[in-house]
């Protein structure tokens, strides 16, 4: 697959503080790439370097195999952190300005305003917008040039649940067009829903990178419940159980390698017990995220 972004040994120091540390990363065409990490782990700084506003201390990166320049930036739609606009200009005028700088067709503006549902307020000054409306305008400005890459830093910050779902749909739609998206977010649930790949940063260092589909591979967690008083004791006898926990009135059995939910089902059946609830749970990205961060803690 074609490499869209390739980062080599990218480093940024703010005085003594190392915000990004020897980062190597590749993003391929069509990926929806989630950047995860706790507050201050260097996500925005990394994106800032990619977008030319933060000068790297060392290291390099290339878009489409070419060294970065302002011309490549015109092909990227990006919003870093807060929405930034001229407060005294209307939403419409702000977008016209974005389009002028990007060399985009201003004819796209009504379409993107429609996408983020701001058409009715387009002639009001940006200053008068609510937080969520500002965020929507920022997304509109990222879309105005019909970019081949979209970079979004906390795009759903301040949006209502409907807004969050709408942004998710927008991201999915854009990704379906074969475009590449880089998304920094703390909403792991969202990342798991929309991203194909993810990376985890901690204090500027890359801890993990890989496909989202791999999350929870290899281990199977089975939730089970049955009308039996000693189900907990009984489950201990099952050959395939690695560990057993009780949560929300359900038993969670972590399976040993090679054992699956059907084996547990057969075991119970042989004991004359019929399960009232039996479900395989994939490990959530959130769980994996916390594990990656705490593993890292043990090592360093």
């Amino acid at each position: 697959m074609e490499t869209v972004l390739s980062i080599q040994k990218l480093t940024k120091n703010f005085g003594k503080l190392c915000a990004v540390n020897n980062l190597d990363l590749e993003v391929k065409k069509g990926q929806v790439f989630g950047m995860l990490g706790p507050n201050g782990s260097g996500k925005t700084t990394t994106l800032g370097m990619l977008m030319g506003v933060v000068n790297p201390t060392s290291g390099s990166f290339s878009w489409f195999g070419e060294p970065a320049s302002h011309l490549t930036r015109k092909k990227i739609g990006a919003v870093l952190e807060h929405p930034i606009f001229y407060p005294y200009l209307s939403g419409q005028k702000n977008l016209e300005l974005n389009a002028m700088i990007k060399g985009a067709d201003p004819g796209n503006i009504p379409k993107v305003l429609e996408t983020v549902e701001l058409t009715a307020r387009k002639d009001d000054k940006f200053r008068t917008y609510s937080l969520g409306m500002k965020q929507r305008l920022a997304i509109a400005s990222a879309l105005v040039s019909d970019p081949i890459i979209l970079i979004l830093d906390e795009p759903t910050n301040g949006l209502d649940p409907m807004g969050i779902a709408e942004i998710r749909e927008i991201i999915k739609k854009i990704a379906a067009d074969g475009k590449t998206i880089i998304l920094a977010s703390h909403l792991l649930d969202e990342v798991q829903k929309v991203c194909t790949h993810f990376a985890v940063l901690k204090r500027g260092t890359l801890m993990h990178t890989g496909p989202v589909d791999d999350v929870g591979k290899g281990e199977e967690l089975v939730e089970v419940q049955a009308y039996h008083d000693d189900l907990g004791v009984l489950l201990q006898e099952f050959m395939g159980s690695a560990s057993i926990k009780k949560e929300n009135g359900l038993f969670q059995v972590m399976m040993k390698d090679g054992y699956h939910s059907k084996d547990l089902n057969r075991f119970l059946f042989d004991k004359g017990i019929v399960a009232s609830h039996l479900a395989t749970r994939k490990k959530s990205l959130e769980k994996q995220f916390l594990e990656i961060l705490s593993d890292a803690g043990h090592h360093g």
């Binding site: 030319g52 506003v53 302002h70 015109k74 990006a78 807060h82 407060p87 005294y88 700088i101 990007k102």
Partner: protein, 272 residues
């Protein structure tokens, strides 16, 4: 190029402060320069009431070719207003962080600076055009007998005037990029002449004045002032410099290039 200018103008043309300040500038500039003769007449009539008769026709303020240098020198006093506008325009970009989004959207840092420099060029040209038309208009009204041979003597001051405005706006732009906060920048801009004068006072003590006094003309703000020398002493029968000195132009051009270069250096190095 034109595209970059258009981008900067688009930012300004819906900004009320821009219209207020530019309106104030061009109105006061226009009224002052155009009505000088009327003020003089009024002064003369007041003087007559007190028995002191001034013959205003002895003071050919608005006669060709004197009018060029006279009006241009007066107009130079107003450039601070335009410079304040330039400071507001650039420090706004820092305060609202829109410079960051401009770069993210695909401007290079040099293009961003260019767009601001081009606006400075435009504002300078507009000042020149305004004074040129006012000088032509009033000159034809007030000059009793136009001698075409001398008509254009001193009109090279328009080149100096353009440079004077543009150099000062470049200075204001650089200051804004270095300081980034509007209030502080405006105070520094206002105090610049005084600060430079104090520095000069300390360097050029009377003991060394004779040997190194000529260095004064190399100071940035003095170099801008030297472009158009004060003309009015000639009406008190004193010699004045009624031409544009090439060394003054060279030094002023040198500083203008440096101002914009320093702005570029700062812009290139900093995280935005």
């Amino acid at each position: 190029m034109l595209h970059l200018l258009k981008i900067d103008l688009k930012k300004m043309t819906s900004y009320r402060t821009f219209w207020v300040i530019c309106g104030l500038y061009f109105l006061t500039l226009g009224f002052t320069t155009a009505s000088g003769m009327e003020i003089l007449k009024w002064l003369a009539s007041k003087g007559a009431e007190f028995g002191a008769s001034i013959n205003i026709n002895r003071v050919p303020l608005y006669h060709f070719p004197d009018i060029w240098q006279n009006l241009i020198w007066i107009s130079g006093l107003f450039k601070i207003v335009l410079a304040v506008m330039v400071v507001i325009s650039i420090t706004n970009e820092y305060q609202y962080r829109t410079i960051r989004q401009n770069i993210i959207d695909g401007m290079s840092r040099w293009e961003f600076l260019q767009s601001k420099i081009l606006t400075n060029v435009m504002l300078s040209l507009m000042s020149v055009l305004m004074i040129l038309s006012i000088a032509l208009f009033t000159g034809f009204i007030y000059t009793p007998k136009i001698e075409w041979d001398y008509f254009l003597v001193g009109s090279e001051f328009f080149v100096a005037y353009f440079l004077e405005i543009f150099a000062f706006l470049s200075y204001a732009l650089m200051l804004g990029i270095l300081v980034q906060r509007s209030g502080l920048t405006i105070v520094l801009l206002m105090l610049s002449h005084m600060i430079e004068a104090i520095i000069k006072l300390n360097i050029f003590r009377s003991s060394v004045e004779d040997q190194i006094g000529f260095l004064k003309q190399f100071f940035p703000l003095e170099s801008i002032t030297n472009l158009v020398p004060l003309p009015f002493a000639r009406y008190a029968f004193q010699e004045i410099q009624d031409y544009v000195a090439l060394t003054a132009v060279a030094i002023a051009i040198g500083w203008t290039v440096l101002f914009n270069y320093f702005a570029y250096l700062k812009l290139r190095k900093s995280d935005i």
